[in-house]
Symmetry: C2
Subunit: 372 residues, 2 copies
């Protein structure tokens, strides 16, 4: 449909409501938001969402797959209003789940996509084929020196990416600017020793203005990337950073995102949110809660997230899936086998628990990944 873009849904009508009725409600709610009888014919053509009534597929569990086409003009060129059309008021309907967007039908310039992507990150890190390792600096409450110590141990052990725990903000125990300086010293010391330079991703999540300052500080001290929790600072803010940033990777973290992905019949599919929407908004790496850890995603969901992150048919660079959240160090060989090489494995607590210490733990993982 000309000058329209499609959003794909899984709809689960309630009680006597037909799927066509629910689709029509969503289409109007997400566009004109008025009863049909007050629309002129012109507005009906120009402004409403148009459900594809002829292409509704019953899934057999009371839900249906279908799409609605929305006028591109309704977006007005702004990410916040795109998000509103995507899942604004209909987030308050039961039975509406977002599964996909036809990005090719949208103006090229609206979404930045990853600035660096999988290929760029591999190039910077000098890792051609194998899967990458990642760990987190924690817990909150350590002072800067203690954090920098762990950073040195992990970097010397060959970890590819070391990120701040997403709860490390600007607490007195280890203020942001000081933390970046000390951790970068650890990175340099390890690089001098091993010849390999680990990428450090400090957590810059904050209000937009502060986040821009933290980005500058991170870049000017040589950080290899930054960590952002887009649902804490706002999805638009991550996109803003991606647009403005001078070329370092953004790792997105799922804190505060669970409301959108926890329910069978509403929200968004995890593979859409973490693998597609985040990527459109500029994430080069997408952290998600892996199966079998502390969270509740299935193996199938994790596989789907991996696939959408790497889907080269979208008009964006690909992003690295980063399974984390209770990944055990001894599962890495099997995971590397099943998840494939375009994966970053985030192992946190399990490295700190190693009886032989963090440096040994890091070397173990580094060696395990080198063999795959």
């Amino acid at each position: 449909m000309k000058n329209h873009f499609r959003i794909h849904y899984r709809l689960t009508p309630a009680g006597p409501q037909s799927v066509a009725d629910l689709a029509r409600s969503v289409a109007y709610e997400q566009s004109v938001e008025v009863p049909d009888d007050i629309l002129t014919d012109e507005l009906r053509v120009k402004s409403t969402g148009k459900p594809a009534y002829d292409d509704i597929r019953e899934l057999g569990d009371g839900s249906y797959e279908m799409s609605i086409a929305y006028p591109v003009d309704n977006i007005g060129g702004e990410v916040t209003q795109f998000l509103n059309i995507l899942y604004g008021n209909c987030s308050l309907f039961p039975g509406v789940k977002i599964t996909d967007v036809e990005w090719n039908e949208l103006p090229n310039k609206l979404f930045t996509g990853p600035r660096i992507g999988i290929r760029g990150i591999r190039k910077t890190l000098g890792v051609k084929r194998r899967a990458l390792s990642c760990t987190a600096l924690k817990p909150i409450g350590l002072n800067t020196k203690e954090i920098a110590y762990f950073c040195l141990q992990f970097a010397s052990g060959g970890i590819d990416i070391i990120k701040d725990d997403h709860g490390m903000a600007n607490q007195k125990s280890a203020p942001f600017e000081e933390r970046v300086i000390h951790c970068m010293q650890s990175i340099e010391r390890a690089a001098d020793k091993t010849g390999k330079r680990t990428a450090y991703f400090p957590n810059i999540t904050a209000g937009t203005e502060v986040m821009m300052k933290r980005l500058d500080h991170a870049v000017s001290h040589g950080a290899g990337g930054v960590l952002i929790c887009p649902h804490l600072c706002g999805l638009e803010s991550m996109h803003h950073i991606a647009e403005k940033n001078p070329g370092i990777p953004i790792m997105a973290h799922p804190a505060f995102s669970g409301g959108y992905v926890q329910s069978a019949n509403h929200g968004m599919t995890p593979e859409f949110l973490y693998g597609i929407l985040w990527r459109a908004l500029g994430a080069d790496l997408s952290v998600y809660p892996n199966v079998g850890g502390r969270f509740s995603f299935s193996a199938g969901t994790c596989k789907s997230i991996n696939e959408t992150c790497r889907d080269s048919t979208l008009p964006f660079k690909t992003s690295f899936p980063v399974p984390g959240g209770g990944v055990q160090r001894n599962t890495i060989p099997d995971l590397a086998e099943s998840y494939g090489s375009d994966t970053v494995f985030l192992v946190g607590g399990s490295l700190y628990q190693h009886p032989k210490g963090p440096n040994f733990a890091a070397r173990e993982i580094t060696e395990a990944l080198a063999r795959h």
Copy 2:
């Protein structure tokens, strides 16, 4: 507990998990995020969340009420990190629902709260006791003149507050700056005629920088308030605007918030999100989907939202509850009776549907509210 603040939960353990186990998982996930065995005694005291195991109340439906105390220092004085402690990673646990926060245990300066509040809005509008009326300018696709026409009709009819539809952003059909200028002309014309000045609330939702510019434009043209969708721009961005704003009311709109309030066992209670959290973050008026309209809240939920918005025991000014989303004009007398006078009734589509036109519809509502 000294230097700690409490978050209240409704927890629903899954399968064999005990409520104490789930509470402990949440407390660690939302603080140190490492296994207990790697913590020093010092960090265990200083940094972990502490569940109130002695005060767990079984609710009889498999769920439990309880609270966890977190170190204030973990916040580091930032709203994004507060949100992370509130519902960051545990948003990805099933069975965790946020019900309240002990704001009195937090530093005074962390949350702005409403700048104006119910009393200030009444003073500005010159309405001492009765409930207020509100409508929305829509649908998307109208040009600026058409929008300004409806604004004039509603303002002349005595509506207290006229807001942009939350989907009105900066579309070509009616660009933001032009729209504000023309709508304010309508407001002035109506005021000249009737002697009463309606408050116009343009929708400033966008990225933070753009939103600040729109705020300035709105203020400099005499707008009576602004509309913000905090879940589209980020909750922190609304708080940022509240902190910086020169004294005009913020009306918060629930677009994109549904993920947090649609499920029985996870997310946040609607009365906490709309009546408490938004208020802490600076909302003077909280739009929520009323019972019986297009959305799914119960009468009890709506009553609870009304009560929390007006709860004078919190360390913030009170905020106006704004039930909307399919409120019919003829239900206003009954609603005014049951919801009480500290309410703003948002009637949208139903005013446009009136056979005698928008001005007549506005006058009907104005008269109905004057009688209560």
